[in-house]
């Protein structure tokens, strides 16, 4: 039985970790991911090279992995990363398109292009935490706790994973929409991994 050991939720105005608000944006403004990074006291210069989707997903993962006390140095073949969203990498696609749209100012940017794939966020999390199990990314029309539940369950079953970092990671129009959960095979009676509980944490 898989349980949700830790979870984080980032929305337009705040970040919540395991039920407690750890950061709120200033009145009326959308949350600024760089401010959030600094507030969380993370030291990882590569953060600034990431696109918005990766920044949001990275911050969501960083907090719960630290909170759960997961070993981030030893390569872990028994941990999977399974993420979902609805806009794929559209936010960065638009940024990349801006580097090629104008023929008179045509300078395709490789550092922007590399992020025009939604699964890069799973790569960034894997690199940071030495996670070497399965990494997958799926695009759905909208958040669906039942699809997330069944796909993650089937994945963990097939790979015999002992831990799975999973959930929803989306970013568009300056707005993050992230729910990340760290699942582990434990019996300490915390939150069970079910479609119903995923839905509760998201809403």
């Amino acid at each position: 039985m898989m349980e949700i050991k830790a979870y984080s939720r980032i929305t337009a105005d705040k970040m919540v970790v395991n039920g407690s608000t750890v950061y709120s944006s200033s009145d009326g403004e959308n949350i600024n991911l760089t401010d959030l990074y600094r507030h969380l006291g993370i030291d990882y210069p590569k953060f600034f090279k990431m696109d918005n989707l990766c920044k949001a997903g990275f911050l969501g993962a960083e907090t719960i992995i630290r909170d759960a006390g997961m070993d981030t140095v030893t390569p872990k073949k028994d941990c999977d990363i399974v993420l979902f969203n609805s806009t794929s990498s559209l936010d960065d696609d638009i940024a990349y398109n801006n580097t090629i749209e104008d023929d008179a100012n045509y300078f395709p940017s490789p550092s922007v292009f590399v992020y025009t794939l939604a699964n890069i966020v799973t790569g960034e999390i894997a690199i940071r935490n030495k996670i070497m199990g399965e990494s997958s990314f799926y695009v759905l029309k909208e958040f669906s706790s039942s699809i997330i539940y069944s796909v993650v369950k089937e994945t963990a079953q097939e790979t015999s994973a002992n831990a799975v970092l999973c959930g929803w990671a989306d970013f568009l129009n300056n707005t993050p929409d992230v729910l990340l959960m760290l699942l582990q095979r434990t019996d300490d009676g915390k939150i069970q991994f079910t479609a119903e509980n995923i839905n509760k944490l998201y809403r």
Partner: protein
């Protein structure tokens, strides 16, 4: 003879200044295009290696520097392998730009 030496000194001073300015400009541009958020120009040693140690830049950074050369200085590098020598340090970059710039 004195006038000649004086003129020579002024000229050397002038070209040194241009190079200094270019190096400073280059450092600011590198920080910007490579998203080195917490790095200031004075933190970058002009002669230190850019790749490997030093700023620890990677393959994508090297490609982005190629774009920088074209965008800001009109220099097109047809062969990315040339980059290894040119991007050794900020100083070698500045020297190459000074010798080949079209903007």
């Amino acid at each position: 003879m004195e006038k000649y030496n004086l003129l020579r000194k002024i000229l050397i001073n002038y070209t040194d200044n241009i190079m200094e300015q270019l190096i400073l400009e280059l450092k600011k541009q590198i920080i910007e295009v490579l998203n080195l958020e917490d790095v200031k120009p004075e933190d970058i040693d002009s002669q230190a290696p850019l790749f490997g140690e030093g700023l620890g830049l990677d393959s994508i950074d090297a490609l982005e520097l190629i774009v920088l050369m074209e965008k800001n200085y009109g220099i097109k590098l047809s062969d990315p392998a040339q980059g290894k020598e040119i991007f050794k340090s900020v100083e070698t970059m500045a020297e190459y730009i000074e010798a080949n710039r079209k903007k």
